[in-house]
Symmetry: C2
Subunit: 218 residues, 2 copies
Amino acid sequence: MITLAEENYLKAILSISLNEGGKVSTNAIANEIGTSAASVSDMLKKLQEKKLIKYKKYKGVELSESGQNKAINILRKHRLWETFLVNKLGFNWSEVHDVAEQLEHIQSAELIDRLDIFLEHPKFDPHGEPIPTKEGEIPSTNTTPLNELQVNTKGKIMGVSLDEKDFLDYLTKLNITIGTEITLLEKISFDKSLSIKIANTKQHISNDVAKHLLIKIS
Amino acid sequence: MITLAEENYLKAILSISLNEGGKVSTNAIANEIGTSAASVSDMLKKLQEKKLIKYKKYKGVELSESGQNKAINILRKHRLWETFLVNKLGFNWSEVHDVAEQLEHIQSAELIDRLDIFLEHPKFDPHGEPIPTKEGEIPSTNTTPLNELQVNTKGKIMGVSLDEKDFLDYLTKLNITIGTEITLLEKISFDKSLSIKIANTKQHISNDVAKHLLIKIS
DNA sequence: TTATATTTTTAGAGTAGTCTAAAAATTTAT
DNA sequence: ATAAATTTTTAGACTACTCTAAAAATATAA
Ligand SMILES: [Mn+2]
Ligand SMILES: [Mn+2]
Ligand SMILES: [Mn+2]
Ligand SMILES: [Mn+2]
């Protein structure tokens, strides 16, 4: 049996290694989960026991084959539930993450299979994030963070890499959502902020915002 | 904060008092939850602390106002989720209880409001059990258990009072479901078993089965 | 009404997960 | 290469929930 806490650790390790690659540090996990490094150390020992991770003290951690399968399945459930909440229940994309954090732990393979069918096998969640397949594939999306684009490049927003209410509500206020056409007008070297054009309106955003906007160049 | 275990205790107390009325005994709860009487005693003290129950040692327990509200809300969630699983995801009525046991603990009032709308405000769950309203009303159903009917009475099955896979699968095998017209032909005094007629076919069922079939006399 | 059986509570202990403080290991700077 | 800073682990303790065994209370029967 795998506990809810263990599931959250596996998910955190997956999330960090998808973003940063390589071994994951104790502190990175503590930071991601919002817990102490001591608790992480404790838990890593338990996950090691269960062969869900490969862990050498002080040397960082990575998911084992079975740990990775479990983690990806949780990610799949999270994103399918978010899709359900937005597409079927009419939630706003900024409102679904916290509920999905609970729903992702419901244990029933049959439920997820049927949900996937009910949603007509969605490929992306409401934030443009790819939904892992039942087989554990995470389709790679060919996108670039907005802050890495060249000036005068035109593209379309395919997704966001941050799922926090404040951030998503701010995007909505800026008329930014998935599918929005965007042109990068200018990069300010002083603070790395950007001038952009959306629907013929010029706007200014910080680098912190831009780096979480995933663009497909057109 | 209320824990998952506490929620299950409140639900068990509600369920027992709906069936039997009056104070609920420690053993009845232990039996319902499948735990020891000692654990129940422990937990009753905690629920008392939180003013969710009225409890005098050795004298049994009843829900407080706030405990009852909480318990009814869990029942509402359970039955709405079961309705979702059957009506939207195509599960069989015998397959949904265990998953609903998990889903009923998801914390989000908004989610349940929207689910209720999505399901078009269902009044009954897939087992014919009434779904409590948001205000906490449990609509009473004017039905009689089949084993309490007079011989030669005709009626319609409005619901079942037991939600176990074996039982429901057996009913399906007998062509019994909600809405089925049924006539009570004979009561065997020796073992209290019953002869019944369904769709012009004569069948024989035990008292144990009959008592969980809720009939509206026609 | 005293004895017996049943029910309920307490006592003591175990597991899972969490925390803070301190020790040990590793990395960075001088 | 040593010292200082940082990271990670261990130690010890706490909460929530669980259990078995034994004691206390209540119900039933002779
Ligand atoms: Mn999310
Ligand atoms: Mn998402
Ligand atoms: Mn049920
Ligand atoms: Mn039901």
